[in-house]
């Protein structure tokens, strides 16, 4: 039977590095996805994701299981991503280079020579539309869409009420729909 997150956390607190490694293997892709959604930059997202696990390792003794491990780790990830975004505001040119990279890689992943051009356009404009949101609005939409987290969990991660999560989600979706209307 697979050990729970809490079992691994306790082992980690006891000094077992392999338990920490297991936690990293469980969450590295999810954490990376959330951060990539917030930053829109692959290299920065990778760096911030690795930094997130470093913070987790250093702070794990202070985690007493009061909240779920995943809400705790996402809180660290989102805070670091928002800080990184404020610190490393990229210039416009670099952002577009990055955009192209993301889209090219998406086409490679799909490996579909008859891939729907309409969907490709939607993705391209989706990145731009998401980039136009504030970090707080990006965070709710990314956490909700990617992870399927509840309003309560998202509120816990972002330090706001469920009502705020709901209204931010509604606003973010409305913005995205307005910008992507012709591709939907």
């Amino acid at each position: 039977m697979e050990p729970s997150d809490w079992d691994l956390v306790q082992k980690c607190q006891a000094g077992e590095k392999s338990a920490f490694q297991e936690l990293v293997s469980r969450y590295h892709q999810k954490v990376y996805m959330v951060i990539l959604g917030l930053l829109g930059n692959r290299e920065d997202a990778l760096e911030v994701a690795q930094e997130t696990f470093l913070r987790v390792f250093r702070k794990i003794d202070g985690f007493h299981g009061g909240s779920s491990f995943y809400t705790w780790i996402y809180r660290i990830a989102v805070n670091l991503a928002i800080d990184a975004q404020r610190r490393r505001k990229r210039d416009r040119l670099e952002f577009h280079e990055n955009l192209d990279g993301l889209l090219e890689s998406q086409n490679e992943v799909a490996r579909d020579p008859f891939g729907d051009v309409h969907d490709r356009e939607l993705r391209e404009h989706l990145i731009q539309a998401i980039n136009g949101l504030t970090p707080e609005h990006k965070a709710v939409i990314v956490l909700r869409t990617i992870e399927g987290l509840s309003y309560k969990d998202i509120g816990e991660i972002l330090g706001c009420s469920e009502g705020t999560v709901m209204s931010r989600l509604h606003y973010a979706r409305k913005k995205l729909q307005d910008k992507l209307n012709s591709f939907l």
Binding site: Q21, V24, S25, H28, Q29, K30, Y32, M33, L36, G37, R42, L46, E47, A49, Q50, E51, F53, L54, F57, D83, R86, R87, K89, L102, S105, Q106, V109, A110, D119, L122, R123, L126, I127, I130, I141, V142, R144, T145, I146, G148, S150, Y151, M166, L169, H170, R173, L176, Q177, L180, N181, L184
Partner: protein, 177 residues
């Protein structure tokens, strides 16, 4: 709020799995009959699906082994409390320079006179900068401001000229006898 607007709120909550069974039934029956609301639901699902597949595709390319190497390198790096403290607390926004620049400019403007006492608004000034007078219930108050020593003299006096002017205004009236 009309029926469709309310239903669209429910649609979002249903998409987020934050709805009740009773709401679900009313939404389902509305969607069967309302083309606009079912199109709105389709759009929301499409945006969610596109975002999820795009980021999942990217995340799938992150191999654990190479990711772990990066984490381990950070774990083994010597810890710098100064860098940690700076990263945690000092986030300098891009336009932060504007605040000290504005304060310096303001201080410069305010202290300009101290450095160039002979200059005021492009006109050289003398010892006495200004004399203002106001009428206060029949008495005139004059304020004499001296610039070099920054002294203000307040001078109260009766306006004797009024009587004189009145006497001059009516020269034809002659002596009253």
């Amino acid at each position: 709020m009309n029926g469709c607007e309310r239903i669209r709120e429910f649609i979002e909550r249903r998409l987020d799995a934050e709805w009740s069974r009773a709401e679900d039934e009313s939404v389902s029956s509305h969607l069967e009959s309302c083309g606009e609301c079912s199109a709105a639901q389709r759009k929301l699902q499409k945006i969610d699906g596109a975002l999820k597949s795009m980021l999942a595709g990217e995340a799938a390319k992150i191999e654990f082994a190479s990711f772990w190497v990066g984490v381990e390198r950070r774990l083994n790096a010597p810890q710098s409390w100064l860098r940690d403290w700076r990263d945690r607390w000092i986030v300098v926004p891009r336009s932060a320079w504007a605040v000290p620049a504005f304060i310096l400019l303001l201080l410069g403007v305010l202290s300009f006179e101290s450095y160039f006492p002979a200059w005021r608004g492009g006109v050289a000034r003398g010892r006495f900068a200004s004399v203002d007078s106001i009428d206060a219930h029949g008495r005139t108050v004059a304020l004499l401001r001296e610039n070099e020593t920054r002294t203000t003299v307040i001078w109260l006096y009766d306006e004797a000229e009024d009587e004189h002017e009145t006497a001059e205004e009516d020269p034809k009236s002659g002596p009253a006898f």
